[in-house]
Amino acid sequence: MSKILEARSMNKKVKLGKDNELHILKDINLEVEKGEFVSVMGPSGSGKSTLLYNISGMDRITSGSVKFKEREISSLKEEELAKIRLESMGFIFQDINLLKNLSLIDNVMFPSLVSKEADKSAVYQKAKELLKMTGIEKLAHNNITQGSGGQLQRVGICRALINNPDIIFGDEPTGALDSKSTEEIMAILAEINKKGTTIMLVTHDVKVAAKTERILFMVDGNLVAQKKMQKYDAQLDDIKEREESIMKWLVENGF
């Protein structure tokens, strides 16, 4: 397996006023393999989301290096980074973050239609397929005010997938959802991962982490431990057992 993401001595500092600086990420070294399903856990304020935004190039790191598909991205210009985000990355947020003035299907199609060469009807077909896959095909032409949290998060996933990204980043994608929706969303993500898309997500929820194959544990901006597991298979694996083992591991690491 080849590396899709690689962070070396990654630091992130934020200035809070004149003489107040917050060191959020401290010398992070991390690799993510292509096709891997990784989750990041840790207490509030440990720097999980900051790690996700910095390693994806959404935020600028203070020092160190980040490589995406062997290419250094920490020093790229805004336009080059945007191109990478558009063509090779997908993002799912806890707050869903859809565009208010577009319908659900337009939200999905939008990143694909930005490029001039886009074939509109092909994009439309693909968006419909994705909505069908996530079970919300009937809501395609609704406004975003006409969907539940779970439904809107599925739209977010479809949008993340529209340009066939190499990797999907999720910042607590199930954080605002009920348990039923959480299960459904995780099933979709597992299906996507099975097809070869790398997924890296931040979560508080052990049930979510149990469906990933590697868990990174962060405390105070440091990557303190990681747990490698088999890829989750709903048919073969006992989810309760995985969850208990993760809980135990977390406690051992001071969670």
Partner: protein, 784 residues
């Protein structure tokens, strides 16, 4: 505490607060200076009137005249008439007055006369409003000519007429209450009694009489006028009431003041819109804070106070600064007044009246803020704290799906559809662009209308190339006949028509007799555009000017009958049409030649003509001017320009000012609006960037939307200035006698030049201001 909140808020919204402050200050400056101007005008006019003691009734007469009859009349009506004086005018043609290096005053449409100062009333003053006392060899020149020919005190003018030739040194400006205005067609030069007598002895001029009456305070002007006419006293010229002079004097300054008040109202509206926009933007930002304040028990009145105090503070500060600056600004506006009405504008009335401006603006701003702040009442603490709840609920029909886009790039399409979807937000900008276009195009259209040959329509004359006005001289009838013979044989003249205007008695709405000026001739040669009906074509037909037909005049409609006294007999004429005319106080009439000339009261002869194509108009004008030295030969445009005088000059200043103000407003508001919009859309922009859009893509969206609003605003603005503008101008002009002005619309200026100027300037502003910040971390916005 209060100052601290204001200070913090200012630091947070520096640009917005400064812009609102600037607009309120500008509104106060303009409103203050306009009120100041009106106060000065009221005080100045009153001072001028006190010093000049103008006549209440002035009758102009040329020809035979007997003072004893006038004295008897004055005696008979001594209940009304306080005193009477007759001023004898020595009329000199402009071509006989030389100045500078072989220049003359030829070509002026003004009747020039040389007079001596009156003894009892109607005094002609200097610039200090002191009665002129001109020494031998000197002359006081009317302000109108001092300005028009750029004459200075100490320079000389030479009068050459027949065997008479004398050089006069200009000693003063002549400020003449009765004849200051360019709308009054006579101007009086004041000389010393000895020089005046010498002029009479040498027969240098035609004589004309101003028979003037000063009435008691409660004297009945209408009764004296009727009695004067009925007594058959000399009156072959117009009879003018004193209030007409007051109106003419005040008109141009009043017009400027009204335009400025109009602009300051616009500025107040714009400032209010800015405040609304600021509220919409900041309240969105502050919604959580409002929730917290409500949650901890602060009353909505106190929360409103926090927001309101800031605008109270701004209004008070802007009001004080604006009020003080208005006293400096007013000097830019009252140059005309200082010259024509009063050089000393130091009265105290303006200090009190000008206070109206800041007080009014303060109350308007505070009232408006309270209105906008009602929104706070609707926000509950829970809603504000859980802003996610607020995002749900409203279900709108989805419009502009991306799939339907056939012509534009996705970004441009999204930008354009955003305007439709959030029109409430863009409405402000749309209104501003309409207003800006309006204040550029309307003055431009008015200016073009005044300068167009078609403007003659509003002066009661058909379109033609050239006109010759014959003055009231002893040889006027012979000159008129000679001129017609010559024109008939002149192969350069394509067609001509002669018109004679005389004064007739007419039965008014109350059944008593008034005077009316009726022009007779063939009106089919140079047809005039009629408001209603048509020109008189046969016997027993008459057409009336709008002012004459209106309720204040004879109160007649097309088809009604008018009774006119001709040659001692009553004749009933049928009204065939109503036309527009702003000359002669707006009250004129036209009848077929068969009505007959009232020989006793011929006012003027006019010959209008069109030249054969290719004939040099100026050469022709010069020829006829030389051949008939008592005539005034004008091309029709020159005639319009001279009659409207400085109104056209002021209009051109307003056009330039309008363009400058419009551009400044458009640039400022666009910049402010975009800043607000970008800050309001911060999270949506961050979402777009997170899915891979560059700042360039996002800029395209906002530019497309704003440019579309600009183009729509320009289109609506141009249409509004063409239709609504026409209506407003017609309404304003109806008091002068023109009720239906059709504005001249120069297509390349209205549809190309002005819009292009706005598009370039605003487009550049949009391009500069549509900067999406890319330095900050995206997560800061996405996670907030």
């Amino acid at each position: 505490m209060f100052l601290k909140i204001v200070k913090n808020d200012f630091l947070r919204n520096k640009i917005v607060t400064t812009t609102v402050f600037v607009f309120i200050t500008l509104a106060v400056i303009l409103a203050g200076s306009a009120i100041n101007n009106i106060a000065n005008l009221i005080q100045g006019m009153s001072d001028l009137q006190k010093s000049a003691v103008p006549a209440d009734i002035t009758v102009m007469h040329a020809g035979e005249y007997e003072q004893a009859e006038i004295d008897q009349f004055t005696e008979k009506y001594s209940d009304h008439i306080e005193t009477q004086e007759t001023m004898i005018l020595q009329n000199i043609d402009g071509s006989n007055i030389h100045f500078g290096q072989s220049q003359t005053m030829a070509g002026t449409i003004q009747d020039i006369s040389f007079v001596v100062q009156n003894k009892k009333f109607d005094f002609i003053l200097d610039l200090y409003n002191e009665k002129l006392n001109v020494k031998e060899g000197f002359v006081a020149v009317p302000i109108y000519f001092m300005q028009q020919h750029d004459l200075k005190i100490g320079e000389t003018i030479t009068v050459k007429s027949g065997g008479y030739e004398k050089e006069f040194v200009i000693s003063d400006h002549a400020r003449d209450f009765e004849m200051n205005s360019s709308l009054t067609s006579s101007k009086r030069f004041v000389i010393n009694q000895n020089d005046y007598d010498e002029m009479i002895e040498m027969n240098a001029a035609e004589l004309e009489y101003l028979i003037e009456f000063k009435l008691f305070e409660n004297g009945d002007s209408a009764a004296v006028q009727s009695a004067y006419i009925e007594a058959g006293l000399p009156a072959n010229g117009p009879m003018i009431e004193g209030k007409i002079f007051t109106m003419f004097n005040a008109m141009s300054d009043m017009a400027v003041a009204i335009v400025i008040i109009f602009i300051s109202i616009l500025l107040i509206v714009i400032a209010s819109l800015c405040i609304r926009l600021t509220f919409l933007a900041t309240i969105d930002e502050d919604i959580r804070e409002i929730g917290v304040m409500k949650a901890i028990g602060i009353s909505k009145t106190d929360i409103k106070k926090v927001y309101l105090n800031k605008y109270r503070f701004i209004s008070v500060a802007a009001g004080i600064i604006g009020y003080l600056l208005s006293f400096a600004a007013v000097n830019l506006l009252n140059g005309n007044m200082r010259l024509y009405i009063s050089s000393d504008l130091s009265g105290s009335l303006k200090y009190v009246l000008s206070l109206i401006a800041p007080l009014l603006v303060y109350f308007l701003v505070v009232m408006y803020c309270q209105q906008v702040l009602k929104r706070i009442d609707k926000i509950s603490a829970v809603e504000a704290l859980r802003s996610d709840i607020m995002k749900h609920g409203k279900i709108r029909k989805y419009s502009f799906p991306l799939l339907k886009n056939k012509f534009f790039s996705t970004n441009i399409y999204i930008g354009l559809s955003d305007v439709w979807k959030r029109f409430k937000l863009y409405r402000l900008l749309f209104v501003i662009f309409i207003v800006c276009t309006f204040i550029v195009i309307l003055p431009l259209n008015i200016y073009n209308t005044m300068n167009s040959p078609e403007f003659s329509t509003y002066m009661g004359i058909g379109k033609h190339d050239m006109r010759i006005d014959l003055r009231r001289t002893d040889s006027i009838t012979e000159d008129f006949n000679r001129l017609q013979n010559e024109l008939q044989n002149d192969s350069d003249i394509e067609k001509y028509a002669a018109y004679i205007t005389s004064s007739y008695q007419v039965k008014n709405a109350e059944g008593s007799w008034d005077f009316i000026n009726i022009e007779i001739g063939d009106f089919s040669v140079f047809p005039l555009k009629y408001l209603e009906g048509k020109a008189p074509e046969g016997k027993g037909e008459i057409s009336l000017s709008f002012a004459n037909a209106s309720k204040d005049g004879l109160n007649k409609k097309v088809g009604d009958e008018v009774t006119v006294m001709v040659g001692g007999e009553e004749q009933t004429l049928s009204v065939t049409g109503i036309y527009q005319d702003i000359t002669n106080g707006g009250k004129t009439a036209k009848a077929h030649t068969s009505l007959g000339v009232n020989e006793e009261a011929v006012l003027w002869y006019i010959v209008s003509m069109d030249l054969v194509q290719g004939v040099d108009k100026h050469m022709k004008m010069e020829y006829y001017q030389n051949a008939y030295d008592s005539a005034q030969v004008n091309d029709i445009k020159e005639y319009t320009v001279q009659t409207l005088g400085n109104i056209i000059d002021q209009m051109s200043t307003i056009v330039i000012g309008g363009i400058a103000i419009a551009l400044i407003i458009a640039v400022l508001i666009t910049a402010l609006f975009l800043r607000m919009l970008l800050s309001k859309d911060m999270s949506q922009i961050a979402i777009m960037r997170s899915v891979g859009l560059t700042s360039k893509h996002i800029k395209q969206q906002y530019m497309a939307g704003t440019m579309m609003v600009l183009i729509l605003g320009i289109i609506v603005g141009v249409l509004a200035s063409n239709f609504l503008g026409e209506f407003l101008v017609s309404m304003a002009m109806s008091s002068m006698g023109a009720a239906k002005i059709e504005l001249v619309n120069v297509a390349w200026q209205t549809w190309l030049l002005c819009p292009l100027a706005l598009i370039i300037v605003v487009g550049y502003t949009i391009s500069v201001c549509c900067k999406v910040t890319v330095d900050d971390d995206l997560s800061v916005v996405l996670r907030s």
